[in-house]
């Protein structure tokens, strides 16, 4: 979907004959995401930013100007995302870019931003490289990345009695780096931990029965899982049928997000230690307000993507408001160190690496009324799990 614009707007303007004052001209933001490739995640995400956009414009916009978002689909391909970025910056005259879901698209857009000197606010991409190894002056990122998720889970994992661990992760950069960081951080706290098996199924093509057997064979006390989506469903079904999870603690990335937990219905696993988003149980005023507004507008509960989309839009507006202009340098100066309220509480865009301090919820899965939920959860703020400044400086290109 794209908002009416271009020719349509021009024609409309000509018909009505507006010669409206410049002040009324909206500030345009370009937004890119994998709407057709990953609708299960990006549809709630879009609802999130649209809600925030409505709120911002209803309150008079930013510095007296309304905000207009031009939204593009990238089909899950970095090349298409870059084509969209070109269209948005060269033709539609947007002042900044935001969005992205896949790590590689986030990286491609970040690199584009640095090359073309465009401001880019990434929402969902999780790879650590975005703000560290391949970080740059023009790119900011919202979500807690792979490293932070691994750190939160490793913290909880260190408290378990388990000594024999096994890992199951999709065989690509995301899965590989998640397992690597988790192992590193766990080893620091628990030198006695031993890794007894690992499985690297291809993303989207897990041979779940065989993987479950191979892991069970090693008789681990605990399993680290990084698979998600359809792969995770297959793994849970095959694992349950074969008794893989009996007496084993599972620590799992992102599984507590309703995007992943909900589709599993009554077969959602119980007792797994996960990161996620228990929208049904967060009783802070900030979240209550967000939840009410979201449910009123869409008659549906929010997903993790909704929170990301909503916060991303609010952050973008806050940056524009503080910058007072739309030049890229002003936006960067305004964004560095900026604090913004979010449904999860106040977050800050760190000066040192442009990573936000947005955190996530850590808890256990359970079954309630035949559907998976998170229980015993608590909010883990991002700043508590980020590496030290010295480590960041060593990883991130300086200058």
């Amino acid at each position: 979907m794209s908002l009416p614009r271009g020719l349509g707007l021009a024609a409309l303007g000509a018909i009505i004959g507006i010669g409206a004052a410049r002040a009324a001209e909206p500030i345009r933001i370009g937004e890119i995401n994998s709407y057709s490739a990953l609708p299960a995640f990006t549809v709630p995400y879009r609802k999130g930013w649209q809600l925030a956009l409505d709120e911002i414009n209803a309150a008079g916009g930013v510095n007296g100007r309304k905000i207009e978002v031009i939204s593009k689909d990238d089909g899950g391909k970095p090349g298409a995302a870059l084509t969209a970025a070109n269209e948005l910056t060269m033709q539609d005259g947007v002042v900044m870019l935001m969005g992205g879901f896949f790590s590689n698209i986030g990286l491609a857009l970040g690199d584009y931003a640095a090359h073309r000197h465009v401001f880019y606010l990434a929402g969902e991409p999780l790879t650590d490289a975005m703000v560290w190894k391949d970080g740059n002056r023009y790119t900011f990122r919202l979500r807690p990345d792979n490293y932070e998720q691994a750190a939160m889970l490793a913290d909880a994992a260190a408290k378990l009695p388990a000594k024999r661990w096994a890992s199951i992760a999709p065989n690509y950069e995301y899965g590989q780096s998640a397992v690597r960081v988790f192992k590193q951080l766990l080893a620091k706290k628990r030198p006695d931990v031993q890794w007894v098996a690992e499985q690297w199924p291809p993303q989207g093509k897990i041979d779940a029965g065989a993987v479950a057997e191979a892991i069970a064979q090693a008789k681990p006390d605990a399993i680290l899982n990084v698979t998600f989506g359809p792969d995770l469903v297959k793994l849970v079904r095959e694992g349950e049928a074969r008794g893989l999870f009996k007496g084993v603690t599972v620590v799992s990335f992102l599984t507590g997000e309703p995007e992943y937990l909900e589709p599993m219905k009554a077969e959602a696993p119980s007792g797994w230690i996960v990161t996620g988003y228990p929208w049904y149980g967060i009783d802070t005023p900030a979240h209550k307000a967000f939840l009410d507004a979201y449910e009123t507008k869409y008659h549906q509960h929010p997903y993790m993507g909704s929170v990301v989309g909503y916060t991303e839009m609010k952050v973008a507006a806050a940056i524009l408001a503080k910058a007072g202009g739309t030049e890229t340098d002003k936006l960067i100066a305004a964004a560095e160190g900026l604090s913004v309220p979010s449904p999860f509480g106040e977050i800050t865009l760190r000066r040192i690496d442009h990573q936000s301090t947005l955190g996530t919820y850590l808890g256990k899965t359970a079954l309630k009324n035949d559907s998976g939920v998170m229980v015993d959860f608590r909010y883990e703020p991002g700043q508590d799990f980020l590496p030290s400044d010295a480590e960041v400086r060593a990883m991130r290109p300086q200058g």
Binding site: A40, A108, D134, N171, A208, E213, R237, E238, A241, P263
Partner: protein, 624 residues
């Protein structure tokens, strides 16, 4: 020991679901020679329909199984409808053209299931009474797996009975072996094809429906299965159903035991097996050598160099294209450059397909090698011209290495071996993060200062495109080109007059790879970054679609195909969330409207128009 048994049984169960989908594809191909790209889409459709029906009927075991069967029947009905309304119109089109039509349908299906069933993954019920596991010698065997292990051979047996013990089956087998003879004997091929198609799609739908208790239903299921199923069919031997069974078994068992020894290798394993089988047994495990049917199908007309009118037209078109920076903005120029790059890529594939008669399903490998070659050279600090050359050299080297194996095969087997090599290469790039950056790719591959403005880069790609097309045309009309066309039209006669068939094809393959490499290297600089999807199967398919749209019997039709397809897909992507639905529908319409491709239809249209005009002129004169 019990562990080995457990893995073995798991492999048997996986083999069953693979076999169901593969046997249908093999059946359809054997009878009608249609490479049904929509087979995965029907598999997915079977799963979606089964999801809806089982969630409504699943109370009892009877309801569940009735729902599964109904879903397969409903899928078959939809497939039959597609055969009657779409494929029947284009059976006489050049080979592989049906692939384009079914590709359009597959694209549409992906968006249609989203529109009907929504974006979330759907989890169907488990089969009533089959949710636990048996224990055999201490090895757990999920009850549902046990059922699948029985279903696979049962379907094989039933198919065997059908094909060997019924009159209809005999006719099907006869059509598989010699279509022309069957037609001569007065058998109505139309309904034979329809019947085979319906049965094949029924099996695909059944395969999908039976997955309900094992996995969630999602809108990208089709992509997951289609390539694997092709591989199974090819390993087994096209048209051979026992072969498909054997291949499904082999691949599944290798997979379950493979992950024990090399947990990271599972993605590459199946393609490595296919490559090995094809190199050792060029027609698959149980396949029969394909009948010599190359002659005539590819050839069409004898080519002549461009007529004078066209020779004047080409520079004029080039001049017009070169003036684009005067009247187009930066974004339009960047899209223009992307289209030009696609045209180079398509032209290189067209050279291989039209002149050489070799349809590659893995041409992306050389596009990707060019892109990665250029990106890695840039990352190592080399300048842009050197990086472009290294990209081309990388593709050339890849073409020489892989081509040596590929050119020994023909037809679909050639296509599948090229696909295997491309997929192996993709897997290596995707998973070998330390060297290639894996999924995160290689960043910061921006063009040199002199080429960095939109207009300059556009001119660079335009020059590269014009040069490539010109060179490929010169080669096509050179003595080497004539020799290559001889190997295409009749390998036997070509060999008889002293042409080294394999070497001629090998050279052509390497040449096409080098030009694809140029396209890939330019693409890296256009985007400023390279990711594994540049050598993914999507790029290979895009290339095929552009060539087929342009017209496979032509020399330069790919330019028209590339322009139409690329421009449409970019434009639709920015305008709608349902770009696949619209693009797929457009492809289907184009296929029906231009069964010889855009440029191909133009070429047949112009002479007949001229003839009609002349006739009318003669009539008018007589009237006067």
């Amino acid at each position: 020991m019990s562990f080995v048994l457990a893995q073995f049984l798991t492999g048997l169960a996986s083999a069953a679901s693979l076999f169901l989908a593969a046997s249908g594809l093999s059946l359809i191909f054997g009878v009608s020679r249609v490479v049904n790209f929509a087979h995965g889409a029907f598999y997915m459709l079977g799963a979606y329909i089964a999801y809806t029906l089982t969630t409504h009927l699943a109370g009892s075991a009877v309801g569940f199984w009735a729902a599964v069967l109904l879903a397969a029947l409903a899928t078959a009905a939809i497939g039959t409808l597609m055969e009657i309304t779409l494929l029947r119109r284009i059976y006489r089109a050049p080979p592989l053209f049906q692939l384009l039509a079914t590709f359009g349908v597959a694209l549409m299906a992906e968006d249609l299931v989203l529109l009907i069933w929504g974006p979330s993954d759907l989890l169907g019920p488990r089969a009533p009474g089959l949710s636990g596991a048996f224990h055999i010698l201490g090895a757990p065997l999920p009850r549902y797996d046990a059922l699948l292990i029985v279903v696979g051979p049962s379907v094989l047996g039933l198919l065997w009975l059908l094909l060997h013990r019924t009159r209809w089956g005999r006719m099907l087998r006869a059509a598989t072996e010699d279509r022309e003879m069957v037609a001569v004997l007065g058998i109505n091929q139309k309904w034979l094809f329809t019947g085979a198609f319906a049965l094949g799609i029924f099996l695909a739908g059944l395969g999908g429906a039976l997955q309900i208790p094992r996995e969630s239903v999602s809108h990208d299921m089709d992509l997951g299965i289609i390539v694997e199923v092709f591989v199974i069919v090819v390993i087994g031997g096209l048209g051979s159903i026992p072969g498909a069974f054997l291949a499904a078994l082999l691949v599944s068992e290798l997979n379950v035991f493979g992950i024990m020894l090399l947990p990271t290798a599972s993605l590459v394993l199946v393609f490595a097996v296919m490559a090995a089988v094809l190199i050792l047994r060029p027609y698959g495990l149980l396949g029969a050598p394909e009948a010599m049917r190359a002659a005539g199908e590819w050839a069409g007309r004898v080519w002549k160099p461009m007529p004078r009118g066209a020779r004047l037209l080409a520079p004029a078109a080039l001049l017009l294209a070169a003036s684009a920076p005067l009247w187009l903005g930066g974004y339009a120029l960047s899209v223009g450059a992307e289209i030009l790059i696609a045209a180079i890529f398509a032209a290189s594939l067209q050279f291989l397909m039209s002149v050489g008669g070799q349809a590659s399903f893995g041409h992306a490998a050389y596009f990707g090698l060019g892109a990665y070659g250029a990106a890695m050279a840039t990352a190592a600090g080399l300048g842009m011209p050197a990086s472009l050359l290294i990209g081309i050299a990388a593709s050339l080297a890849g073409g020489i290495a892989f081509g040596w194996f590929c050119v020994r095969l023909a037809g679909v087997y050639f296509a599948m071996l090229t696909l295997a090599f491309a997929q192996i290469l993709w897997t290596v790039v995707f998973q070998w993060v330390d060297v290639t950056g894996g999924d995160n790719g290689i960043l910061n591959v921006w063009p040199a200062r002199w080429a960095s403005s939109a207009a300059h880069f556009y001119w660079l790609t335009l020059a590269a495109m014009a040069g490539s097309v010109l060179l490929l045309r010169i080669v096509a009309f050179s003595p080497f080109g004539y020799a290559l066309r001889a190997t295409r039209d009749s390998p036997l006669r070509a060999a008889a007059i002293g042409i080294d068939v394999s070497r001629t094809r090998w050279l052509a393959f390497a040449l096409a790879a080098a030009f694809a490499g140029l396209a890939g290297a330019l693409f890296a600089f256009l985007k400023g970054s390279v990711f594994p999807d540049s050598l993914g199967i999507g790029v290979s398919i895009d290339g095929l679609v552009m060539v087929l749209l342009g017209g496979v019997g032509t020399i330069s039709g790919a330019i028209a195909g590339a322009a139409v397809y690329k421009a449409l897909s970019i434009w639709l992507m920015t305008e709608t969330d349902y770009s696949r639905l619209v693009l797929g529908a457009l492809i289907v319409v184009l296929v029906v409207a231009f069964p010889r491709g855009i440029a191909g239809s133009w070429q047949t249209l112009v002479p007949s128009l001229r003839l009609a005009l002349r006739r009318r002129g003669a009539l008018a004169e007589r009237g006067a």
